[in-house]
Symmetry: C2
Amino acid sequence: MTGSIGMTIKETSEQAGLSEDTIRYYEKIGLLPRAERKANRHRIYQIEDVETMKPITCLKKRGMSLDEMKPYLDLARNDALQASPEVFDLIQSHKRKIEQQVASLQQIIDLIDSRLVRGNFAAEGCSLPEEEKRMPNAPGANRSVS
Amino acid sequence: MTGSIGMTIKETSEQAGLSEDTIRYYEKIGLLPRAERKANRHRIYQIEDVETMKPITCLKKRGMSLDEMKPYLDLARNDALQASPEVFDLIQSHKRKIEQQVASLQQIIDLIDSRLVRGNFAAEGCSLPEEEKRMPNAPGANRSVS
DNA sequence: ATACAACTTGGAGTGAACTTCAGGTCAACA
DNA sequence: TGTTGACCTGAAGTTCACTCCAAGTTGTAT
């Protein structure tokens, strides 16, 4: 039964677009919280669980490692950003990272458009900070890219 | 000497931000062309070589695999986009991918801004094509994308 | 009672992308 | 003359992110 009480790991896997093994693996490494179990030890999931799984695929495709995305998912589980100021800051800094990604992707697009001449391809085009050099407040640095 | 004739692998590694081992590895797997050698078999590089190496780090951070980026780098080496129409199409499709990345990153940013409510986090937010469905010859499909 | 499907677990295997290692060459310098 | 340092090669080892497997349990169907 697809029942009102919860979904099996199989159903969940189909919904979330992750294999059953992958879901168990994510649980094992702590990317997902330990799932509830039925009396027979089988995992049960709710739709909310699926919704916390979907972003994983999404973030992974951007080159984010499973470790890096943990705080993101923790946040997604905690319902809102009302959390602690520290978490808020963390998300803000993630946001800045993403904005930089967008900016340099946009540069690549521009370069492709302008014929992609070797010397310019990525001479300065890729300004992702190796290790985020958390600029204290980064006033002019991040602009919207559109 | 940093000399006029070429750079050592060490200098190149510093310039390109890749380890010497990584550069040799990239050569081995064919991501970089076989470097010129001196009489003593040591590799020599020119500034242009560094410039073809820099984008690798850049593209990698976006989650592109080494295999995927090969055509990109081939192009970067061939001086201009005057190449073949096939290559042009390929680059165009890469460009579209990147644009989709930008779009969904932007969605993430928007969601963070709007408080990141669980259910919406990535319900539909992630529309990257799973496997690039390499269209055999890209019929009418790719022209201008903007 | 027996078979079967759907799950469980822990652990081993896989592929990509490096990184490290062991052993060797070569040129320059004390 | 030896030894040091920068490089070479091929191969083995590591990490990440899975993926597969074997053995066991439970619930349902025949």
